[in-house]
Symmetry: C2
Subunit: 106 residues, 2 copies
């Protein structure tokens, strides 16, 4: 079973869950209230998030609060780094093209 951040964020419901618990740790039930789906469905998504280490369960009495693990979000950011370099380079190249066009305009 492949379990990484990229699989964690592949599902839109999971992305929404991540966004919610990023603001504040939440229980499965309180999360489920935000969606048009069952508590069990949310629980399954949470299970995947825990396996991917994107969410961390913290038991508190009979409730379980799921917290976000920001490190994993940073992993995505790290992967994006390679592209950020490229798109900045391309932007600069485009800039040069525009400058050349300007020069020819005169």
């Amino acid at each position: 079973m492949r379990r990484d951040v990229f699989q964690a964020i592949a599902d839109p419901t999971r992305r929404a869950i991540i966004a919610l618990i990023a603001m504040q740790a939440m229980t499965p039930n309180s999360l489920a209230e935000h969606f048009h789906t069952s508590r069990q469905a949310i629980s399954k998504h949470l299970q995947i998030l825990v396996e991917c280490e994107v969410a961390i369960p913290k038991q508190q009495g009979r409730e379980i609060y799921y917290e976000i693990e920001m490190k994993k979000m940073k992993e995505i950011d790290k992967w994006l780094e390679q592209f950020r370099k490229i798109w900045e380079d391309r932007f600069n190249q485009l800039d040069e093209v525009l400058i050349t066009l300007k020069k020819h305009k005169r």
Copy 2:
């Protein structure tokens, strides 16, 4: 069929393809040489990438070069923005904690 960038990058082979064509547009055959899988498997991944608008096919004679669409990579970056804010805040909070600890040390 859900087709967005997040699904595009969910698969590790697809992430590798994206990284390759980000450097330089490539044909399915030349891409397949980089993997231990068949040309058809790569073609299928490319098809998904095209549907997600992460890759753009450019026919050139009988060859088809697949280019990256950086816009879509930026979409991921944009989604990450919300978390970036949070992790910076938390970092600042941690900073304050450290300052407080320092003060108490004296």
